[in-house]
Structure formats: structure tokens, C-alpha cells
């Protein structure tokens, strides 16, 4: 059973060409895949549809067999808690410590306070930032900030994680480190979709790749084909 399925999805905005056009694919649970393409190919739109920041103009998006068209009103936040999101610009709260930033999804989900501390520290330990828990985001390097962003996205154990150009601002070495962090997540039960225009990096990861071109799904490359 697919965790995520796009069936003939089109997303159009008034007065411009469709951002996505008749896109269909599915993602199995525990998979990690990349969505790539040139700027404006529709990568971010695709992720926004999964995260319910947008709705398709036509077609169906299903997450865990649930049609997102039927997720409305107060159910939208609940859906978003099941889908972790990592932004290119991290979007950390600058006046809160690393600890407080990572704890946010747990507070939102109503996790008891006694448990929050344990889980946040365990997560910071996992991303190598336990010693920086009291630091403010501005006191961290760009790579460290992105690791905080990832820790925040996965602390509530989402079924699905979407990351939009998470290495866009990082140097190649840091980008590789971040990608290794993403690659470790499927083993923890999180399905990962990463949008990136960095083809070299994507090829090195040897994972499934969806190639978008002007909003159309131009190719769906398996890890085996990528290695060949």
C-alpha cells in the first residue's frame, strides 16, 4: 500500500501556465526519494500539495489512503502534524533557543511536559546539537541551523517528511552531511521526499528520483537505473 499517491494532479494558478500538470506517482512507506527539476518545474508546488498548503486544481492526492480533498477545517492542522516539513531557509524562531524550537511540534501536539524534555534532548543528541540546546539560532552555523530544522521536523515522528531544497544554502560537505541525516530517517519509520535542483548531489544519494519539467513528470528513475 502506498503512503502517498498523486493521481492525475494538476495545479494551476490564474493567468499563468500550470505549476503541475497531470502528475501521477506513488511512494511506498519507508521510501526516500528526490524530486528534481529546474527552477519553476513544480517541485515546491508538489510538496505544498502534500503538506496541504495548497489544494490541487484537478486530480487526487492521497496520504495513507486518505483523500486530502476531504481534509478540511480543523483536520488540516492534524494532517500537518503527520507531515514534517523542512524549509530551505530553516524558518527557526529567532527569539527561542534551539531546545524551544525543536520542542514546538511536541507542544503543538499536546505532548506532556515531562516527556518533552527527554525527547527533545534525545533528538538533539541524534543531530549532534545537544550541547547547543540553550543557544539561539543566530549563534549557530547555517548547517547547524538546518539540523535544528530537521530535528524539529521529525521530533513528533511524522509518517512523512517533505524537505524543500534543504541544502540550498549549504556548502557541498555540509549538504552531504544533511543528506546522510535524511537517509537515516526511513529506518526510523519516516518516509522522506526531498526537493532539490542539485543533480550531482541527488545522483550521489542513489535513491529514486522524480524529474519534473514545466510541471510535468518527465521521468521516474529508480535507484538501480540511477546507478547504471
Amino acid at each position: 500500500m502506498a503512503l502517498l499517491r498523486f493521481d492525475n494532479v494538476t495545479k494551476a494558478y490564474a493567468g499563468s501556465a500550470p505549476a503541475l500538470s497531470d502528475v501521477s506517482f506513488s511512494v511506498e512507506e519507508g521510501e526516500m526519494l528526490f524530486v528534481t527539476g529546474h527552477s519553476g518545474a513544480g517541485k515546491s508546488t508538489l510538496l505544498r500539495l502534500v503538506h496541504l498548503s495548497e489544494r490541487p486544481s484537478r486530480g487526487t492526492v492521497l496520504v495513507d489512503e486518505r483523500n486530502l480533498a476531504k481534509v478540511r477545517g480543523g483536520k488540516v492542522p492534524l494532517h500537518r502534524r503527520r507531515v514534517g516539513v523542512v524549509f530551505q531557509d530553516h524558518r527557526l524562531l529567532t527569539d527561542r533557543s534551539v531546545y524551544d524550537n525543536v520542542a514546538l511540534p511536541l507542544l503543538i501536539a499536546g505532548t506532556p511536559g515531562s516527556e518533552v524534555g527527554k525527547r527533545v534532548r534525545a533528538m538533539l543528541d541524534k543531530v549532534g546539537l545537544l550541547e547547543r540546546e540553550r543557544s539561539l539560532p543566530v549563534q549557530l552555523s547555517t548547517g547547524e541551523q538546518q539540523r535544528v530544522g530537521i530535528a524539529r521536523a521529525i521530533i513528533a515522528q511524522p509518517r512523512l517528511l517533505v524537505a524543500d531544497e534543504p541544502t540550498g544554502n549549504l556548502d557541498p560537505q555540509l549538504a552531504a552531511e544533511i543528506m546522510q541525516l535524511f537517509a537515516s530517517l526511513p529506518a526510523l519509520g519516516t518516509t522522506v521526499i526531498v526537493a532539490s535542483h542539485d543533480l550531482a548531489l541527488v545522483k550521489r544519494m542513489r535513491r529514486r528520483v522524480l524529474v519534473l519539467d514545466h510541471g510535468k513528470l518527465a521521468d521516474d528513475i529508480s535507484p538501480e537505473d540511477l546507478a547504471a
Partner: protein
């Protein structure tokens, strides 16, 4: 779904089950409120000047109608004590003798709506007139005392019915009962109450606007944070909560300051007022809102702050929510 995927799904399911108990949910709800309450207080403390200005404006807006209302209450109380003890003057016909007047006073004094009746003879009246005026010399040239015997009747109630009955007495020449004065005073007091209500509504709206605008500015400064919270799955209630507490804190502080302003104003006026009423041979002290009134003021002000913040956040959430979500 593969067996591997089933195994992976278990931790999340167990997590949901663990977090789903009513007790833990209530505990989490309490912790969320506590977090919002404390963080909003910290937010106020982090910018003391801006907070003080906002609270000051709100406090004055609250203190004005409250002060007017309290002043009106005090006037009512004072005029009530004055009107209760108002006397009815019955000026008898010139041919009624003092003895006949005393008999009539006994009859009137037996009525249930009369608390006391006094007889002021023409001689007593003349002596009183002589003492109170500068006409002593002129009075000396009068051959006869022109003043009639007067019955001074103290009514138990408002005295309107009694005065009407006294006017029917054949011995009565003029009955002086200042009902019109009291009616005019009552009308002024009723008008004053309405003015206070209108001012209270207008300034109450002002308080809502001040809180709403302050919270709106705060929301504007934190719009990115709100966006992040919404992406992380925060409900409208979660986003709104710290702002509601912020509004309530503003209201509570403004209510407290308004109460202190009224107290200070009362203390400033009491000394002069006491001297003024003492010159009329009576005593009067200003009354404040009391414990119950003070608690109602604080609760009402906090509620208004909460409402202003609710309106401001509601507007922002409606504006920033994706249209089709």
C-alpha cells in the same frame, strides 16, 4: 503494506495511544495554557514602556466612565439622604390660633406617614426671621406680627400624598413641599446615568480598539512565527492562545491601574468635600466600588482585553489561512 512497513508504523501508533488518554490530554492542555500564560507575561515585561503606555491609555478609558458612575452613585446617595429628611411646611390661615394649631398638629402627627410634627408660632417665626436677616430694624416698625403659625411636618416616605392631603385642610393657607425640585433632581440623575452608560459603551469600544490594535501590531511582528506554527500543525486555538492571554494581561493591568486612579482621585477630593458638606451641617464620605465592585472591574477589564485580542487574532487568522483550506 510490507511487514517492514508494519514494524515501522508501530512506534507512531504506540505514540498516539500513549498520548491519547484523557488524563494526559488534560495535563497537556493545562501545560499549553500555562506556557501561553507565562510567555505572554514575559512578552509584556520585555517592553515595559510600550506596555505602560498601552495600559495607561486603557486605564484612563476605563476610569472615566467608572469615575462618572461612582460620582453619580455618590450624588444619588447624598440627594437620597437629603430628600428623605425633607420637611413639609404648612402655613396656616392667619385666623388659626396657636392652640388650634397644636390640636391640628396632634391630628396630623397621628398619621402613619408622618414621623414628626412641630409647631412654629408667629413669635418664633419672627424671632427666627430677625436672626437670619438684616431686616431687624424694619421689623421693629411693624405694629403687628404678619407671620402665620406654621406646622413643620416630617414625612416618613416621599411625602407627595401627605402634602396633597395637607393642602385639602381648611386651616392650611400654603403648603410648601418641594416635590418639583426632587423630581428635577431625579430626572438629572437619570440623565446622568444614561450619559455614563453612553460614555461607558464608547470608551469600552475604545478599550477594545486599543487592545485589538496593540495585539494586531504584535501579530504583525510575529507573523513569520505564526506561519511556522501553522506549518507545524498548530490549530487556530493554539496560535490564538498567547495573544488572548496578552490581551487579558493588558486588561487586567489596565483595570488595576484604573482602580488605583479612582482611589487616588477619591482621596484627593474627600478632604474638600468633607469641608463643604460640613458647612451644611451634615457629614458625607465618598464611597468606592467596594471589594465586589473592584473584582468585577478587574474581571471585566481582563475580559475586554481578551475579547479585543480575540477579534484581532480572528481577523489575522482569517486573512492568512489559505482560502481553500
Amino acid at each position: 503494506m510490507s511487514a517492514k512497513a508494519d514494524t515501522r508504523a508501530k512506534p507512531a501508533a504506540a505514540e498516539r495511544k500513549k498520548a491519547g488518554g484523557l488524563g494526559s490530554r488534560l495535563r497537556a492542555w493545562r501545560e499549553q495554557h500555562l506556557y501561553s500564560l507565562v510567555s505572554s507575561l514575559g512578552r509584556l515585561a520585555s517592553r515595559p514602556v510600550a506596555t505602560l503606555l498601552t495600559v495607561g491609555v486603557m486605564a484612563i478609558a476605563l476610569a472615566l466612565p467608572l469615575g462618572l458612575g461612582m460620582a453619580l452613585g455618590n450624588i444619588e446617595r447624598f440627594s437620597g439622604s437629603v430628600t428623605e429628611s425633607r420637611e413639609i411646611g404648612v402655613f396656616l390661615q392667619p385666623d388659626v390660633t396657636v392652640a388650634q394649631a397644636r390640636e391640628l398638629a396632634a391630628v396630623i402627627g397621628a398619621r402613619a406617614d408622618v414621623s414628626a410634627v412641630g409647631v412654629r408660632t408667629p413669635d418664633e417665626g419672627l424671632a427666627e426671621f430677625r436672626a437670619m436677616s438684616d431686616l431687624a430694624g424694619a421689623l421693629d416698625v411693624l405694629e403687628d406680627n404678619p407671620l402665620p403659625t406654621v406646622l413643620v411636618v416630617q414625612p416618613k416616605g416621599d411625602g407627595d400624598t401627605l402634602a396633597a392631603d395637607l393642602r385639602q385642610l381648611p386651616q392650611a393657607d400654603i403648603v410648601q413641599h418641594d416635590a418639583a425640585w426632587r423630581q428635577r433632581l431625579s430626572a438629572w440623575l437619570a440623565f446622568g446615568e444614561r450619559v455614563v452608560q453612553v460614555v461607558a459603551v464608547l470608551l469600552g469600544l475604545g478599550v477594545l480598539l486599543v487592545v485589538g490594535n496593540t495585539v494586531r501590531l504584535d501579530i504583525g511582528a510575529r507573523s513569520e512565527e505564526i506561519g511556522v506554527l501553522q506549518h507545524l500543525g498548530a490549530t487556530d486555538a493554539f496560535v490564538r492562545r498567547p495573544f488572548l492571554y496578552l490581551g487579558a494581561w493588558y486588561g487586567l493591568a489596565a483595570g488595576l491601574l484604573a482602580g488605583l486612579l479612582l482611589l487616588a482621585a477619591g482621596l484627593l477630593m474627600q478632604g474638600r468635600l468633607s469641608a463643604l458638606v460640613a458647612s451644611y451641617g451634615t457629614q458625607f464620605s465618598l464611597s468606592g466600588p467596594g471589594l465586589r465592585g473592584s473584582l468585577m472591574l478587574l474581571a471585566g477589564a481582563a475580559l475586554m482585553g481578551w475579547l479585543g485580542a480575540w477579534l484581532a487574532t480572528g481577523h489575522h487568522l482569517r486573512r492568512t489561512r489559505p482560502v481553500d483550506v
